[in-house]
């Protein structure tokens, strides 16, 4: 009988397409990519930088999902939920609870005038937001990562005790997304269906915004964290921790036999992935200015998986390529094509996927052509003269 674990890329010897982490790139390549991103605002301008700035936290989100999918064989359908949870926490700290409409609504629903739950918390959040380094409310970035990470850790401890976690994680995280969107809509403390809006940029009060403007300052701020995250990721992939992580997904039984507790490793990793997703959400809410329940939906989590898939699960720059390609082409296409852009994007996606599945044949063709070109001329003349 087929198991749903066969859903996952080749890690149990199931499917015919094996993904695994590719090598880390050469320092030269990485350096060139970094340089390109540092210099891009010159070409993009303030407006363009502001636009790309919105996509950088999404790269972090895709990276967090890829940690699980590409490196450990676990597909999560709930990373948008972790992302949105982090966004809500950051929004509460920096922006305070429920907006005017929801606040009045609470009043209308209750019969007594006076302080709602929001007012008590408002003081707490303001105190948290007041902790600043160089003008940035750091707790609004740190706390979401910590809280969401802890939640992810607890969830992971439960999930990885079950016999086939590759089966349960997709399902449970799918349920997480459904439950989160449905329940958030009723919580007026969190702005109900409107969510929390008017969230200021993290660098709004800093010298960076004064010098570079709103768009570029958000871009460089987000880029900073992206570079740091990728730096850590680079180190991780080359380290023994990275190998332990790969092993826990590839063959947990062998890892256990060697004395490393695979389940604990995976739970910790799941928590770390959730923490990164929550952090990405916090960063995002400072860039885009709002958070709403719809962002936790299963469809959004599916989009995260699409980003990872387009960039190839397990590939180092995969999340970057996936997010930027899809998001930028969506923006560009919808501006040009108005209401038929999804048709074009869908067709492109299908073409890319079909080509991907034929990649082996394409590669073989390329190899043949390259070999033919590389064969020394003497041999060719010799064989031709026979």
């Amino acid at each position: 009988m087929k198991k749903l674990s066969d859903l996952l890329p080749g890690l149990r010897g199931g499917g015919t397409h094996r993904f695994g982490p590719t090598a880390t790139p050469k320092p030269l390549t990485a350096g060139l990519v970094l340089l390109a991103f540092l210099l891009a605002p010159a070409a993009l301008g303030g407006y363009g930088s502001g636009l790309v700035a919105l996509y950088l936290p999404l790269v972090l989100l895709a990276l967090s999902a890829d940690l699980l999918w590409g490196l450990n064989g676990v597909v999560s359908f709930g990373h948008a939920a972790f992302f949105t949870a982090g966004a809500y926490l950051a929004a509460l700290i920096v922006g305070g609870p429920g907006d005017s409409a929801a606040g009045t609504l609470s009043y209308l629903q209750a019969t007594n005038v006076g302080a709602g739950p929001g007012d008590v918390w408002r003081g707490v959040f303001e105190a948290l937001a007041a902790v600043r380094i160089l003008g940035v409310s750091v707790l609004a970035l740190v706390l979401p990562a910590v809280v969401v990470g802890l939640f992810g850790l607890v969830l992971g401890l439960v999930l990885f005790r079950l016999p086939s976690p590759e089966v349960y994680v997709p399902l449970m995280t799918l349920g997480l997304g459904v439950i989160m969107t449905t329940s958030l809509v009723g919580v007026s403390f969190l702005g109900a269906s409107n969510g929390l809006s008017n969230i200021p940029s993290f660098v709004a009060d800093t010298w960076l915004t004064r010098v570079a403007g709103d768009g570029m300052s958000k871009y460089y701020f987000n880029l900073l964290f992206l570079v740091v995250a990728y730096g850590v990721y680079w180190w991780f992939r080359g380290s023994s921790w990275g190998r332990r992580w790969l092993g826990s997904g590839d063959s947990p039984l062998r890892l256990d036999a060697l004395g490393y507790r695979a389940n604990l490793t995976r739970s910790l990793g799941f928590g770390a992935s959730a923490a990164l997703a929550g952090f990405a959400g916090a960063l995002y809410v400072g860039s885009i200015g709002f958070v709403a329940p719809a962002q936790a939906a299963v469809g959004q989590s599916a989009m995260v998986l699409i980003w990872v898939a387009v960039g190839r699960p397990g590939s180092f720059f995969g999340p970057l390529v996936g997010v930027l390609t899809i998001q930028i082409s969506s923006f560009f296409l919808s501006g040009v094509l108005k209401n038929s852009w999804q048709l074009v994007l869908g067709v492109i996606l299908i073409l890319v996927v079909v080509l991907m599945t034929r990649a082996a044949e394409i590669r073989a063709f390329v190899r043949r052509t390259v070999r033919r070109a590389e064969r020394p001329p003497v041999e060719r003349v010799a064989s031709a003269s026979e």
């Binding site: 749903l4 149990r12 079950l162």
Partner: protein
Amino acid sequence: MSIVLQVLFQGLGIGSVLLLGALGLMIIYGVMGIVNLAHGEFVMVGAYASVVVSTVGMSWLSIPAAVLVAGALGLLVDVVVVRYFYNNPVASMLGTFGIGMVLQSVVLLVFGPNLQRSEQPITASVPIGFGQSFSVWRLVLIGVAVVTTIGLGLVLARTKYGLTVRLVTADRQVASTLGIRSKRTNRWTFALGCALAGFGGALAAPLANVSPTMGVTYLANSFLVVVLARLGDVRSTALWSAALGVGLAGVAAVSNDVVATIIIWVAALAIVAVRRTELSAVRV
């Protein structure tokens, strides 16, 4: 007592739509190893086909038309695109996602974004005792779902095609060593899965809304049923669809729909977590 009866019928009504959706998703996954993210869009195509046929005046033909159109479209999509995705989970996810986008866009561009009118062929309601009455069309829906399930079960149990499906679902490698031409099985299975989805769409359309994005809601719930039930087992799928439907209706009757969704999902996940034996066949 009257509430119980109402909840029961209501739940079976919800369950029958879930069932038709889940069956299609299940056989496609079981035989082909494909997660069809475009499943909801085939439901939508069936709904639109039934609307178009009704508008032309032949509303009794609307359901067979929906089945044929959805099935034929599934066949076409398989021949052109899906055949590259067999047994490739990542590619099938991405590819069917793209197919879903394309289908939604095409329907949007051709029919426009407005809701389409879809009428129940029978609008009467019938008393079911204790002062309650129930829509005849919903009863028809339940009946048709039951008949389809039995029919599909018979096909799987008694026909050569059904044997092939069961064998490939259980163990693909053994099936191929026995010389089963899985490509043809895959093709017809995809068409059948899409036809079932379209069938569900045509039946649900009179009670729901027909718009290009109507299919999205069917995906998550059908997926839940497929995971709860034993893969490849039609009866198990039927039972879990009914359970889910009655559960949703029951909790909604006591409190409200939002709470019902949350509670039922939490319960379903708990069931899956607790019931370990079914899903852990072989441990690596």
